[in-house]
């Protein structure tokens, strides 16, 4: 009842001894995630929390522990290299939590991995959680989640938590919650995730959280219109942001009409999505959608 990660996921943490890496690796393990290895150059042959082996290189970690998911916490200047290392070692799912990667590095990396049998989630994303499979590979607070049949996909971190909070409070559980990341260029698109939800028998409906800037939501709308058969509700934030101002996410720059909230909402409505009118009505709208 999940996409991308499940009970068979074997996680390696790149940058496991850093402040954020160690904090979140522990939280993931606490949730039940199977963290099989960590990588920190120079810390090889030691143990994380007395149990998880640390390696100097991912190559060694792969040889000894066969991970199939990598989560990356290394600082921005070194994160592109960490992604390349994961791709070169053909880790099927690479999740880059790190934010602040120079976008041209991201482009080089993303174009490189197109030729590798891997998928990149992020950069600048909260990761992924499949509550029913007790598998969390990300930085989201686990406690707000509830196992169920609604998929969540979003460009934003904390707004995903807000979404999940509203769903769980109404008793609506989640199959998998995925943050694709807030940067203008990311490894995985809305459409990629929607396709997986489409094919996941344990996902009955989806919530898609978009925002102003770029054209990712339009591409999602195209996919929904042509290929997506399940109920989907969508919220676009930044509706009140003034034109020409940059709102944090590098992706949220109002550069042209397509980047406007109104255009995105129109495209999604036209594709048949239920439109969530304000951020406080996410749960209620999904509940209504599920009951129709």
């Amino acid at each position: 009842m999940s996409i991308l990660v499940d009970t068979n996921s074997r996680i390696v943490v790149q940058g496991i001894t850093g402040k954020e890496g160690s904090f979140h690796a522990q939280r993931c393990i606490d949730f039940g995630t199977n963290v099989v290895a960590g990588v920190t150059p120079g810390k090889g042959s030691t143990l994380f929390m007395d149990s998880v082996p640390i390696f100097d290189t991912l190559e060694q970690a792969v040889e000894k522990t066969q991970p199939n998911v990598s989560i990356i916490f290394v600082p921005a200047p070194f994160a592109p290299d960490a992604i390349l290392e994961a791709a070169e070692n053909e880790i099927p799912l690479i999740i880059c939590i790190t934010e602040g990667l120079p976008v041209q590095d991201t482009i080089r990396v993303v174009r490189y991995i197109e030729r590798k049998p891997v998928r990149l989630l992020g950069p600048n994303c909260p990761g992924i959680i499949s509550p029913g499979d007790k598998c969390k590979v990300g930085i989201m607070p686990a406690s707000i989640h509830k196992a169920g049949k609604v998929g969540v996909v979003s460009r934003s971190g904390t707004l995903t938590y807000e979404t999940v909070q509203q769903l769980s409070e109404l008793g609506i559980g989640q199959s998998t919650c995925v943050g694709i990341g807030g940067d203008p260029v990311s490894g995985t698109t809305f459409a990629d995730i929607l396709e997986m939800f489409q094919n996941d028998p344990e996902t009955d409906a989806v919530v898609l959280i978009g925002e102003i800037g770029g054209t990712k939501e339009q591409l999602a709308a195209d996919y929904i219109k042509n290929n997506f058969k399940k109920p989907i509700a969508s919220l676009i934030v930044g509706q009140t942001a003034p034109k020409g101002k940059r709102m944090g996410h590098a992706g949220a720059v109002v550069t042209g009409p397509a980047a406007l909230a109104s255009e995105k909402i129109a495209a999604l409505r036209d594709a048949g999505a239920f439109i969530i009118n304000t951020p406080s009505e996410i749960g209620a709208t999904v509940e209504k959608m599920l009951n129709t």
Binding site: P77, Q104, P126, T158, L219, Q239, G248, T278, P279, S280
Partner: protein
């Protein structure tokens, strides 16, 4: 990070792109002698980090060195208000005195990052010198785009494809291709997020010249571009925006009176949306980011407290990496160091939310707590 036109042109020129003869000056006297060197007649262009200079009176032609000096005198030291600045405008500390160029045709050329193709794209149009966003909205077929592969760069065939579609002459197509390829080199070498040449002019003697130029350097890349960091003109930044950048916050000043402090850009935009829905106006966008420390939260909150435009403050923190108790402690620290009695509404959720709420409740400060987004928005809207 924005840089000035004169700085952008200097970079383009280093990469072999034609620019008009010009000189950056900071006073009328230097403007006069610059005009003399250019043969008397010259264009005086206010150097500010804002578009719409022309319409706002920031670009004027002087027909004699004396006239140029007078224009420079009238501009330098004033603030220029354009549709892209706030009502205060941007300070003109220097002007560019530039040769007047005879123009046969004005084109538009830019390189930007495109999320859809996951690449840098080059954009070209014959509709140069005008509001390109207007053209894009009303006549999108006049805007040509090509995606640039990071492995091979901008290729001559792409220049020819654009050039023939634009209907340029064979000679101009060669020059155009070279400019595009060199711009892409500038873009890569300097980690730009935008290079815009508007207009890219075909001059009277049939050469292609960058009459105006805008370059934005990606903030996230500056750790590897110390020399570009030196081009930063902090005088062009709002003082709060400058402070927030130094603290490491993502901050945008707006026109309302509800100061907002949120973690995460998406949630911050959602919070602004809900504040507006409830009938109030946000004074800012403020994202404290992922793993903010107690000190950073305190600094961010202090920024809001010190903003005279801010009449009430809404905090919306969904703990994840950031723990709510850390956020609460930061808020308390800021309030203790900065006496203020404006209404504060705080919503804390996620990691250590209960600890955070206890800290706020035990602080003795006049802070109201909210559970849901809409409750928070209603509370802040109705508070005085």
């Amino acid at each position: 990070m924005n840089i000035h036109e004169y700085q952008a042109k200097a970079i383009l020129s280093e990469y072999g792109i034609n620019i008009p003869q010009s000189k950056m000056v900071t006073n009328a006297e230097d403007a006069k002698s610059a005009a003399q060197e250019l043969g008397g007649k010259a264009v005086v262009k206010a150097q500010v980090h804002a578009g719409g200079r022309g319409k706002a009176g920031g670009v004027k032609i002087g027909h004699t060195p004396t006239e140029v000096a007078t224009i420079a005198e009238s501009l330098i030291g004033t603030n220029l208000v354009t549709h892209q600045t706030g009502t205060d405008g941007a300070p003109i500390n220097c002007v560019l005195v530039e040769e007047a160029t005879s123009i046969k045709q004005e084109m538009y050329f830019s390189i930007v990052i495109d999320g859809a193709t996951k690449s840098a794209i080059a954009i070209a149009s014959l509709s140069g010198g005008m509001d390109i966003e207007e053209v894009a909205a009303t006549e999108p077929e006049k805007i040509l785009r090509v995606s640039i592969d990071p492995g091979v760069g901008f290729s001559p065939f792409q220049g020819r494809s654009l050039g023939y579609q634009l209907g340029l002459s064979d000679a101009n197509i060669k020059a155009f291709s070279k400019i595009a390829a060199n711009c892409y080199k500038v873009f890569i070498d300097n980690d730009c997020s935008l290079i815009e040449i508007n207009p890219l002019a075909i001059t009277g003697d049939d050469t292609l010249t960058a009459l105006d130029a805008k370059i934005e350097i990606e903030e996230d890349s500056l750790f590897r571009h110390q020399s570009l960091e030196n081009l930063r003109d902090t005088s062009q930044e709002d003082s709060q925006e400058k402070k927030s950048r130094e603290i490491g916050l993502s901050y945008v000043k707006l026109e309302g009176n509800v100061g907002c402090m949120v973690n995460g850009a998406g949630l911050a935009m959602a919070t602004m949306d809900i504040v507006k829905t409830a009938g109030a106006q946000p004074a800012n966008f403020l994202d404290v980011g992922g793993g903010a420390s107690q000190e950073k939260i305190a600094a961010a909150f202090t920024l809001l407290l010190e903003d005279s435009q801010v009449k009430k403050i809404l905090v919306n923190i969904f703990g994840g990496i950031l723990r709510c108790d850390i956020a609460a402690k930061g808020i308390v620290d800021a309030c203790k160091n900065h006496k203020s009695d404006i209404p504060i509404v705080v919503r804390l959720l996620g990691t250590n939310a209960d600890e955070g709420k206890s800290i706020l409740q035990g602080s003795g400060l006049n802070i109201r707590l909210a559970e849901t987004l809409i409750e928070a928005a209603n509370l802040i809207t109705t508070s005085n």
